[in-house]
Symmetry: C2
Subunit: 334 residues, 2 copies
C-alpha cells in the first residue's frame, strides 16, 4: 500500500498523489477528488518515516528533563505537548537523571533521529562537554528554566525574585536564623534562589549564617535528611525556606518526626506551591508561578525557531513568581 498503488488505482502519476497529500495547489479539483477517492478506497496512509527520510526532518520535538516525577513539571509538558501537537509535531520524551553524560547521549540520539527541535533542562550550564554537544546539535535547542548559554532560547521563572520575596517576608517577621534548602547550584533555579536569598539579607543588612544553607537537595529523602540535620544543630534555625521544587514533603516529614510544630516551632516557606502546601495545617506559605504558561511559551518559541523565522539568537522569556503568604510563616518571638 503505497503512493504507487494509489496512483495506479486513480490512474495518475505518483507525483500527483504526492501533490494531493501535500495540498499542492497545482492539482485540478477533479484529479484531487479521484486521488482522494482512491486513497479512501484502498485505506491508504502515508508513511511518515519515508517522508522524514526525504525531507530530512521528522516532525518530532524532544523534551528532556531531569526527572519526570516532579509532579509540577507534568503541567509544563502537558501544555507544551498540546501546542506542539496542534502544529503537527509529536513529542519525544526522555529523562536526563540530571547527568551530563546522559544529556550528551540524548542530544546525539535526538540528532540521529533527525529531531526537529529540543527543549531540555541541563544539570550544569557551564559543563564544557555539554556546551560542545549543544553547539554541535544542528537543531534548535530551547532551555527549560536554565540560562547562561547565550546562543540558546530559554524560558525561565523568576526564582530570584521569588526567593527574595520569601526571604524578605521572613526577615520582616523578625527571623534572623533562616535555613535554606536548595538543589544543584550549578543550575539556574537554585543559583537564582540563592541570589534572591542573599539579596534579601543584604538589603536588610544581615549576614546569613552559612551553616544554615543546604544545597544539592534533589529528592524528598535529601530534604528529609537536610531538615533533620538542621534541626539537630545546637543553634537551630527559626525559619526554614524549602526552596527546591517539590521537596516540601520530606521536610515536613522530618519536622513531624522530630516533633517540631510548623508555624510555632519553626516558620516554613515552600519554594513551589502544591496541594500539600495549601491544605497542610497550618497552610504553608509558598512561591507560585505558572508552569503551564512556561510550557506553552517554550513550545511556541521553539516552533518559531524551527520555522526558521529570522529572530535574534538567545531569546529569553521569564514568567513572574509570587509569594502566597499563609499560616506557616509567623513572627519570630524570641
Amino acid at each position: 500500500m503505497k503512493v504507487k498503488d494509489v496512483a495506479r488505482e486513480a490512474g495518475v502519476a505518483v507525483g500527483t498523489v504526492s501533490r494531493v497529500l501535500n495540498d499542492h495547489p497545482a492539482v485540478t479539483r477533479e484529479l484531487r477528488e479521484r486521488v482522494e477517492k482512491a486513497m479512501a478506497h484502498l485505506g491508504y496512509e502515508v508513511d511518515v518515516t519515508a517522508q522524514s527520510m526525504r525531507a530530512g526532518r521528522s516532525r518530532l520535538v524532544a523534551c528532556a528533563i531531569r526527572d519526570f516525577d516532579i509532579p509540577r513539571f507534568a503541567l509544563f509538558i502537558k501544555e507544551a505537548e498540546a501546542v506542539l501537537r496542534e502544529a503537527g509535531y509529536t513529542l519525544l520524551l526522555a529523562s536526563t537523571t540530571n547527568r551530563p553524560d546522559v544529556e550528551i547521549a540524548l542530544l546525539r540520539a535526538f540528532r540521529r533521529r533527525r529531531v526537529d527541535g529540543v527543549m531540555m533542562t541541563l544539570s550544569d550550564e557551564q559543563h564544557l562537554d555539554v556546551r560542545e554537544a549543544l553547539s554541535e546539535a544542528l537543531m534548535p535547542v530551547l532551555l527549560i528554566d536554565r540560562d547562561r548559554i547565550e546562543a540558546l532560547d530559554r524560558v525561565t521563572a523568576d526564582h530570584r525574585e521569588g526567593a527574595r520575596l520569601a526571604t524578605s517576608h521572613l526577615l520582616d517577621l523578625g527571623h534572623r536564623r533562616i535555613a535554606m534548602l536548595v538543589g544543584d547550584l550549578n543550575a539556574f533555579p537554585s543559583r537564582s534562589r540563592l541570589e534572591g536569598f542573599r539579596a534579601a539579607h543584604a538589603a536588610a543588612g544581615i549576614a546569613p549564617d552559612p551553616r544554615l544553607l543546604r544545597d544539592d537537595v534533589l529528592s524528598s529523602e535529601d530534604a528529609y535528611r537536610a531538615t533533620a540535620s538542621l534541626m539537630s544543630l545546637a543553634e537551630r534555625p527559626t525559619a526554614l525556606f524549602v526552596a527546591a521544587m517539590d521537596m516540601l514533603g520530606g521536610c515536613l516529614r522530618a519536622l513531624r518526626t522530630m516533633g517540631v510544630a510548623v508555624g510555632d516551632g519553626i516558620s516554613v516557606v515552600a519554594g513551589s506551591d502544591s496541594d500539600l502546601a495549601e491544605l497542610h495545617t497550618p497552610p504553608i506559605t509558598a512561591i507560585a508561578w505558572d508552569l503551564a504558561a512556561m510550557g506553552r511559551h517554550a513550545a511556541t518559541m521553539l516552533l518559531e525557531r524551527m520555522r526558521g523565522d529570522e529572530i535574534e539568537r538567545g531569546r529569553g522569556l521569564t514568567v513572574p513568581t509570587q509569594l502566597i503568604i499563609r499560616g506557616s510563616s509567623r513572627p519570630f518571638a524570641s
Copy 2:
C-alpha cells in the same frame, strides 16, 4: 556524511560499513577497525530515519495516557521509559484527554510513524470505534490499567480489592452512610472500585445509598463540587471515600470551606496515597499500589511482545493494592 563516505574513506564497500554498524559477525577485525576509524575520523553518525525506513520499524514506543498532570502517573512513565531506553527504544508521549476520537487519531498517527508498540489508557474499553481502531493497529498495544479487551496485554492494579478493603474498613468502624467519588465508570479503575465498594456492602448485608455515589469525578474541581454537594445533603454521609486518583485536594478544600473537620465531622479515605494524604492533619487513610512496578512491567511485557516471542494473547498482570490506615478514618459515633 553517509555510509558511502565512510566506505570510501575506509576503502570498503557500503555493505561492509553497514555490517560494522550492526555488529554483524562476518567482518574481519582488521576491516572493522578500519571502518571504525573512518567513522570516528569523519564524525559519522547513522541516520535512524533511514534505518527505520528500510527496517519497517522505528524503535519508537508510544505512550498515551489520559492526562499527564496526574502526578503519580509520572512514576509509571519514568520507570517505563528507563526500561525501554535500556532496550534501545525511545518513548513517544501523548495525552488522550480521555476522548475516544483523540485515542483513535493517535493510534493512526502512531501507525503512520511506524511505531513499534503502544501503551495506553482508554476512555471507554467498550467504545466500538476505538475497538476497531485497536484491531487495525498493526502493532502491539498494551493497556494501562484497563481490561475487557481480550486480545491485548494489560497491566492493572487491583482497584477492586483496594476499594473493598477501604469500604470494609469504614463499615467496620460503624459507618453506614458512606459516600463515594469515582471517575469514569466506562473505564476499568472506577468500575472496579465501584465493584469493590458494592462487594463490601453486600458482605456486610448493607445496601449503599445511591444518592451518595458521585461518578465522573475527573478533576480536582469536580471533586470539590461533588464533595460540596454531598455535604449539602439533608442526610449527610458520615464517611467519604475519594476513590478517584489524585482528587483528594479538591475534596479537602471543599470540606475546609464548609467547615467540616476531617476525622471528627467526617471520615475520609483516599483512593491513592500521596504526600498530601500522609502529611495532612489528621493523616488520611489511603489505598496504595506500586505504579513504578506497573511501569516496569508494562515496558517489559511490551518488549516481549515486540520481539515477537511466542506468547499467548491478552496476558494480564495485576499489582496488589493495600490499605494504609491513618487518622482520618474513625469510628462512627452516632
